[in-house]
Subunit: 220 residues, 2 copies
DNA sequence: TAGATTGTTAATCGATTAACAATC
DNA sequence: TAGATTGTTAATCGATTAACAATC
C-alpha cells in the first residue's frame, strides 16, 4: 500500500510555482530551471525539485523544465484543469467582495450561487447572480454538482450553514473568522482568520519594541 | 546574547488560546488546565505548555492556570493590551468588508483611515470614515502614529501602495492576492491569498477522486 | 566530451510529543 | 501525604537542505 504524505506547504508552493510559470509563459519563456523558479518565488531550488518529486519527473536533466508542460502538470496536480463550481453563502460585504474577485475566476473557480437569509439581500444582484434564499442551496448544489462552499456569514451562523452545505453534498469548505466548524471527516475545511494574521504583525512589532532587537531572533 | 526563536505557528496558536480563554472568562471559569485548553482548541496539552513556556511561567503546578491572568499574559505577548491604529488602502468591496468587520475592533484594531485613488470612491463614507485620497496617507499615518497598513487595492497597484505606506512610516503590512511586495527588511509583511486556500481544497478533492482513498494519506 | 541540471539520498534542522521531575 | 498539573528535557517526527550520481 503506497502512502503519499504531502506537506500542505508543498501544495501552497505548487500553486505559487504555477502562477510564476504562467507569467513566464506569457513572456514567451520556453525552458526554466529549478534554480530560476526558486529565485522567482523566493525558495530554494532543492525545495522546488523536492516539491515536484512527490508527483513525478517533469524535467530533463541538463536542460530544465518546459514552462508550458510543467505549468500544465502542476495545474493538473492541483485539480485545476477543469472548472470548479462554487457556492457562496453570506452576501454581506465580504461575500460580495469574493464574488467580484477576479482571482477566483482566473483559476477556474466559478461562483454559481450566492445565498443569504436576509430578506433585504435576497433578490439583490451581484455581478450576474441573484442572491437566493438559503433554502435553495440543495437545489443549486445538485444542479451544478458543487463540491466547494465558501461561508461568509456571521460567526454564530457558520456551523448551521456548514451543516446545510454538507447535507447538500458539498465536501470542501472555506470559512472565515475565528470559527471552528464540526464536519464529517470526509469534508475538508480550511479557515482564514484575518485577525490572527494581524496579531502575528502586532506580536512582531511589540517584540521589537519591548526588547532590544539584537537580543532576539524569530522565524517570523 | 539571548536568542529567542518562536515558531510562527506558536504565535497563531496563542491567538487562538486567548480567544478560548475569553470565552471561558465570560462563562465565569476561574481556573483551567493545559489539558482543557488543548481539548478546547484541538491541539495537544504538551503543545499548549510548550507554547507558553517560550514566554514565561504562567501556571501553578497541581492547579492549572488562572483564566483571567493567562488571557492577559497572552494578550500582552501578542501586543494586544493597547489599541492599534490601522490604515486601509483600497475602498473596494474587500476594503469595505474589512472596514466593517467587527473581529478587528474586538481585538483592538482601529481603522483610522481609508484611502483610494478612485475619484468615485473618494468622499464616500464607510462606517464613520470618509474615503480619502491616497495623497493624504502620510498625514493620517503621522497623526495617529499608524504602524499597520492593510492593502486591498488591485494587484498591479499593491507595490506602489506599499512603497507609499512604508515611506509614511508604516512597518507592518497585510496584503491580499498573489502579490509579493518588496519592502525594507525592518517591515513585516503577511499575505492572504484566498485562491491558494481554494487550491488546497481542490488538490485534496482531486487526489481523492484520481486515487483510491485507501492508497493515500496526506497531512492536509 | 564538457557543462548543466535534474531526481534522489542522506544530513540537517526545527517543531511536536512523550515522559517525568518539580511542586502545588 | 496523595493527587494533580506544570515546566522542561529528551525522544520523535517531519520538513528542508546539501550534495551528488544520473543523464541530457
Amino acid at each position: 500500500m503506497k502512502v503519499l504524505r504531502i506537506p500542505e506547504a508543498t501544495v501552497s508552493r505548487l500553486s505559487i510555482y504555477s502562477r510564476y510559470l504562467q507569467r513566464l509563459e506569457r513572456d514567451g519563456v520556453v525552458t526554466v530551471s529549478s534554480n530560476e523558479i526558486a529565485k522567482g518565488v523566493g525558495v530554494s531550488s532543492a525545495q522546488v525539485r523536492k516539491d515536484l518529486a512527490y508527483f513525478g519527473e517533469f524535467g530533463t536533466r541538463g536542460v530544465g523544465y518546459n514552462v508550458k508542460d510543467l505549468m500544465h502538470y502542476i495545474l493538473r496536480i492541483l485539480g485545476l484543469t477543469r472548472p470548479w463550481p462554487v457556492v457562496l453563502v453570506g452576501a454581506g460585504n465580504l461575500g460580495t467582495a469574493l464574488c467580484t474577485y477576479r482571482g477566483f475566476k482566473d483559476r477556474g473557480f466559478n461562483i454559481v450561487g450566492v445565498f443569504d437569509n436576509d430578506l433585504l439581500k435576497i433578490g439583490k444582484r451581484i455581478q450576474d447572480l441573484e442572491v437566493l434564499p438559503v433554502e435553495r442551496i440543495p437545489e443549486v448544489v445538485a444542479e451544478h454538482n458543487v463540491r466547494i462552499g465558501i461561508i461568509t456569514v456571521p460567526q454564530s451562523e457558520t456551523q448551521g450553514v456548514a451543516d446545510i452545505l454538507v447535507k447538500a453534498g458539498v465536501n470542501a469548505l472555506l470559512t472565515f473568522g475565528p470559527t471552528v466548524v464540526q464536519v464529517p471527516e470526509d469534508v475538508v475545511v480550511r479557515n482564514v482568520d484575518l485577525s490572527i494574521k494581524l496579531e502575528v504583525l502586532t506580536f512582531y512589532l511589540n517584540l521589537r519594541e519591548t526588547h532590544p532587537s539584537a537580543w532576539f531572533e524569530t522565524n517570523l
